[in-house]
Structures are given as structure tokens and as C-alpha cells.
């Protein structure tokens, strides 16, 4: 394992821009370099994870397939905020990817414990 861990922040809703895909690609590349990678979804970022998305009519790739495949890359640490779940009237059962729901203060600790943070 590498001596530095990496936290990636997702803050944008699905289909809005390329930052979500670009951040995911960083996750996969860094994992291949044995860098321990965690993901956290803040604010609109959580909307990427909700069930029932059908991207076909938009002729866009659905990133959910990649999010669901992250375990194969040993990326198992996915976090959302309890406060964001409440904001959008969601529970973790509404998310199609396994995530840990954490408090705002736990999020601050997570950021502190991370050696590198990329927030596109």
C-alpha cells in the first residue's frame, strides 16, 4: 500500500458536467497505484447515487455502473452526509450504492485524516 491516502469529493449532480466522471477516473487510476481511495458525496453530489436513474434517453453514460463496480478496485469507503440525505428527503435505502451516512463533524474528521483531497 502507498504511504498516502486520497479522498475524492463529489459535489455535482448527475449529467451536469464532466467533473463526476473525471473524479471517478482519478479514483480508478490512483487505486491501480495502490493508493487507498475514499469517496465522499456532498450536497448535490449525493444525487448521483439515487436509484431509478435512466440515462438512456439522454444518450449519456450512467456512472452508477462504475460506482457499483468500485468494490472490484478495492474502493469500499463511500460516504454521504446524514444532513444531505435529509435535505433531499432520502435514506440510504434510496441510494443504489452502499454508502456510510455520517455526521457533518465526522466529515470534517474524515477530511482531516486524509493525506490528499481532490475536489473537482
Amino acid at each position: 500500500m502507498a504511504d498516502k491516502n486520497l479522498l475524492l469529493i463529489f459535489r455535482n449532480p448527475p449529467f451536469a458536467d464532466s467533473s463526476n466522471r473525471d473524479t471517478l477516473d482519478i479514483a480508478l487510476a490512483c487505486s491501480a497505484f495502490d493508493i487507498p481511495v475514499s469517496l465522499i458525496f456532498l450536497h448535490d453530489g449525493i444525487l448521483q447515487l439515487t436509484r431509478g436513474q435512466q440515462s438512456k434517453p439522454l444518450q449519456q453514460k450512467n456512472l452508477l455502473n462504475t460506482f457499483n463496480a468500485l468494490a472490484m478496485y478495492d474502493i469500499n469507503q463511500l460516504f454521504v452526509l446524514q444532513s444531505d440525505l435529509q435535505r433531499f428527503e432520502l435514506t440510504t435505502a434510496d441510494l443504489s450504492v452502499d454508502c456510510q451516512a455520517i455526521s457533518d463533524s465526522k466529515m470534517a474528521q474524515l477530511l482531516r485524516q486524509s493525506d490528499r483531497v481532490i475536489n473537482l
Binding site: 504511504d3 498516502k4 473525471d22 482519478i26 487510476a29 490512483c30 493508493i35 481532490i118 473537482l120
Partner: protein, 130 residues
């Protein structure tokens, strides 16, 4: 201190690249090292050598090259970001059978592994974006 920079910005909006350039100049002047500057996302669109900068505006790409010439900077452009935006080196031009290579000389196309390496090899990673 060894720095690496991740540039994730559009040259048409914001001043992220100008800030990154000033930061780089100051860091180098203070004797720090810049391991790599990694250009990602929309940033790479502006690295075409077909780009014409209006005479009364600053050509940022030129400024990166000037800095690189003075201080031997490793300017790496994400290959997947570049190819999808039509910014090709000769190798990619041949591979995809296109009419011309247009990546500005002085920049190198490579994969995201170069960003991972930059994370591992540097004391600090700074992101400049918009």
C-alpha cells in the same frame, strides 16, 4: 518542498491558470521544486497549437512553456481528456487516423497514472480549478 499541481479549469472562464502560474513562479523562486503540472478536464482544450490568442491578450500556454524552459517543468496533459477534445500528439493522430497533430510542443500526453505518481512523489498537491 516538492509540489505538484493539478489544473482543472477552462481558459475561457476564471483565472485559475494565471493563479497557478504565479504560484509556480513564486514557489520556484523560493527554491521549491515542482515535480509535475498535470492538465486535466477542460484545461486541455486550450493546449492546441491551432489556438490564436488575440494580440492584446496573454497567451497562457506560452507562459507555461516559458516557465518550463527556465525551470525544466514536467507539463503532462491527460491523454483521455485531450483526445476526446481533439487535442492530439503525432502518436494519437496516427492511431486514430486524423489529419493533423495539434498538441502544443512542450506538453506531453500521458495517462492519469502520472497524476497518481505526482500524488505519491510530492509533498504537496495543489488543485487550481474553476
Amino acid at each position: 518542498m516538492i509540489f505538484s499541481l493539478l489544473i482543472y479549469a477552462s481558459q475561457n472562464s476564471g483565472q485559475a491558470e494565471q493563479t497557478a502560474l504565479r504560484f509556480s513562479r513564486s514557489a520556484l523562486a523560493q527554491g521549491h521544486k515542482i515535480h509535475r503540472v498535470f492538465f486535466y478536464g477542460e484545461t486541455v482544450s486550450a493546449l492546441s497549437n491551432l489556438k490564436i490568442t488575440p494580440r492584446d491578450e496573454i497567451d497562457i500556454t506560452r507562459q507555461w512553456l516559458d516557465l518550463a524552459a527556465d525551470d525544466d517543468l514536467d507539463l503532462v496533459v491527460c491523454i483521455s481528456a485531450a483526445v476526446r477534445r481533439g487535442v492530439l500528439n503525432q502518436q494519437e493522430c496516427d492511431r486514430h487516423n486524423r489529419s493533423a497533430a495539434n498538441l502544443a510542443a512542450g506538453f506531453n500526453l500521458s495517462g492519469l497514472g502520472q497524476l497518481a505518481d505526482a500524488i505519491l512523489s510530492s509533498d504537496r498537491l495543489l488543485t487550481f480549478g474553476n
